[in-house]
């Protein structure tokens, strides 16, 4: 072990209570940032989950659509125009909207209907754990997620109820299709979705465009825009970005999560800076001696930064363990906290940066030592 590391570690561990305070500060800070950023990632994924699972090269959306859940509608005839564009192999209409689900035991609850043609590649439920996707083509068939059984008053497949006073029968059950709005998603066929929502049969929410592999997507998009009025044509990536921007920035939800994360970083930095500063103050005679015997400023910086890095590594390890437990505990909740390798790496770098930044005050203090203190008793 190098002498710098030895000196740093012994300075750090000499006062165990202060060391524990430092580590607790780091752990508190990083766990807070982990939760906030994990929620942010989770939210970011959930707001685009329908776009991620739709089969489309391009989305025709009503002009000014802000997100997938936007209630604006298109003229269903736009589909015919879309199909006439060279390079378009299919155009699948999708209808979405909020409506009411009659709970079999009494009362109603809001649901979010997603309707798509069952015979083509469109936007269908995934992770089907009971029943079959094909069953959605039978009259009144709907698919729900088992997470929402209690909310919807459903206990088994085949159970019947009403949606907006029209018959509905649960014919497929999925697992893990959760809504960040907490309103359950209910999948069905296009025509029934229009009926359940109360929309005219010649109105749809989106048209999912499939483009021939030989065709240039940008050219197809330009042709679609030239042929259709009051619509926008977006790639899935553009629609995702727009949805995220709306939910995360437009609603202030993202700003709130980032503010929480920033607060965590500030609290952590202040705690680490305070404990490093007081540790350095306790060792001023030693740092003065180091300088008196000729050590360079860089050598002393290394000792202090090494102390900060040791705190960072130990604090991060504990925070990561707690973070993993939180991820595990929240995995089955409405808004699970997500940890990715990139987020973990980012949090580690943030911890290091936070601790090194915290060392600045201690370094400034040491560089201002009156060296003649070494001659005092």
């Amino acid at each position: 072990m190098s002498l710098i590391l030895r000196l740093a570690s012994r300075n750090l561990f000499q006062d165990r209570l202060r060391f524990i305070a430092t580590v607790v500060g780091i752990v508190f800070s990083i766990v807070l940032v982990t939760v906030q950023m994990g929620l942010f990632l989770s939210f970011e994924r959930m707001v685009t989950t329908m776009i991620d699972h739709a089969s489309a090269d391009l989305w025709i959306v009503p002009l000014g659509t802000k997100c997938f859940e936007d209630p604006s509608l298109l003229d269903a005839h736009d589909r015919t125009y879309a199909l006439s564009v060279k390079g378009v192999t299919d155009a699948v209409p999708v209808v979405i909207g909020f409506t009411e689900w009659a709970v079999p035991s009494g009362g109603t609850t809001p649901i979010f209907i997603i309707g798509s043609s069952t015979s083509t590649e469109g936007l269908h439920p995934w992770n089907v754990v009971q029943g079959k996707l094909d069953a959605l083509s039978t009259p009144h068939a709907v698919a729900i997620d088992q997470t929402y059984f209690a909310r919807l008053g459903i206990t088994r497949i085949g159970q019947s109820t009403e949606i907006r006073e029209q018959s509905a029968q649960v014919m497929a059950i999925t697992n893990g299709i959760r809504s960040f709005t907490t309103t359950p998603y209910v999948f069905t066929a296009l025509d029934r979705a229009q009926a359940y929502i109360g929309t005219s049969p010649n109105r749809v929410s989106y048209i999912l465009v499939h483009v021939s592999p030989e065709a240039d997507i940008a050219s197809v998009r330009n042709l679609l825009l030239a042929n259709l009025a009051r619509v926008e044509v977006l790639t899935p990536d553009e629609f995702r970005t727009r949805s995220r921007a709306f939910w995360l920035l437009g609603t202030g939800a993202g700003a709130a999560l980032f503010a929480g994360a920033l607060l965590g970083v500030i609290v952590g930095t202040v705690i680490v800076a305070q404990t490093l500063y007081s540790s350095t103050k306790d060792h001023l005679d030693e740092f003065a001696t180091l300088r008196a015997i000729g050590s360079s400023g860089v050598y002393i910086h290394k000792v202090i930064i090494c102390q900060a890095l040791l705190s960072a590594v130990i604090g991060f390890f504990l925070a990561a363990c707690i973070g993993l437990i939180i991820v595990e505990v929240t995995a089955e909740t409405a808004l699970p906290i997500v940890m990715t390798p990139l987020l973990t790496l980012g949090l580690f770098l943030l911890t290091v940066l936070m601790c090194v930044a915290s060392a600045v005050a201690a370094i400034v203090q040491v560089m201002r030592i009156d060296l003649s203190r070494v001659f005092r008793q």
Partner: protein
């Protein structure tokens, strides 16, 4: 005396600011060479420690010049002063100033580590100087496990391990009993017999006068006289 390692000429040093400003040194000139042990004696407040700080490149003079191996300390930046200390000067302090969390061996190695000397070479050199000061059997002991005399010997080992040209010792026997003080002065006078090294000891302990080759008296920031050892003994 050989070519001086440190040479001070007309050094004036003010300490403090405003109404509290004090002229601690008032035109001091002296030179320190190799192969001799010089005592700097004087009453409290006479300017001994300030002079030691100026000669040891811890303070720069307000006026006058200090040359260390021909290099002036005037206008030197703190990094340049640190390099002069690293290359030419070893310190021994009255309070030892050992690192309590490091062993005797590591305390000595630290002086090499700051000079960029590491691993096997550093360990060999540190062992060698611990033998010189008679502490080879205590190399793994922490300062709290050593007596005052032993701690001072570790401090001397730390001062000489980097091959400093001059050892500046501030009251090295001040915290020791006469037996340990005698042992420490014996080590320092042996170091001073090395023709490549000089030793300056600041003291007001008359018991160590017999170890001196030269004695300088300072009072009120001025050198009163400078006597060779024979004259002092008389």
């Amino acid at each position: 005396m050989t070519e001086p390692v440190i040479e001070a000429t007309d050094v004036v040093k003010f300490l403090g600011h405003g109404a509290g400003r004090v002229e601690a040194l008032r035109g001091v000139s002296l030179s320190l060479g190799c192969g001799q042990l010089t005592l700097l004696m004087g009453p409290s407040g006479s300017g001994k420690t300030t002079l030691l700080s100026v000669l040891g490149c811890i303070l720069t003079p307000t006026q006058g010049t200090v040359l260390v191996r021909g290099r002036s300390t005037a206008d030197a930046r703190s990094g340049d002063l640190a390099k002069l200390r690293r290359d030419h000067i070893g310190f021994v302090f009255q309070s030892y100033h050992l690192f309590p969390t490091l062993t005797a061996m590591d305390n000595v190695r630290l002086a090499l580590d700051v000079r960029g000397v590491r691993s096997g070479t550093a360990i060999a050199k540190a062992k060698e100087v611990l033998v010189t000061v008679g502490l080879s059997h205590k190399e793994n002991a922490f300062p709290r496990e050593l007596s005052g005399g032993e701690q001072q010997r570790v401090a001397i080992a730390r001062a000489i391990v980097g091959d400093a040209s001059v050892i500046l010792a501030d009251e090295p026997t001040g915290a020791l009993d006469s037996e340990n003080g005698h042992a420490i002065m014996t080590i320092l006078s042996n170091i001073a017999k090395d023709p490549s090294r000089g030793v300056l000891v600041v003291t007001h302990d008359p018991r160590i006068v017999p170890f001196a080759d030269r004695i300088i008296h300072i009072e009120d920031g001025r050198i009163l006289d400078e006597v060779a050892v024979g004259a002092a003994m008389n």
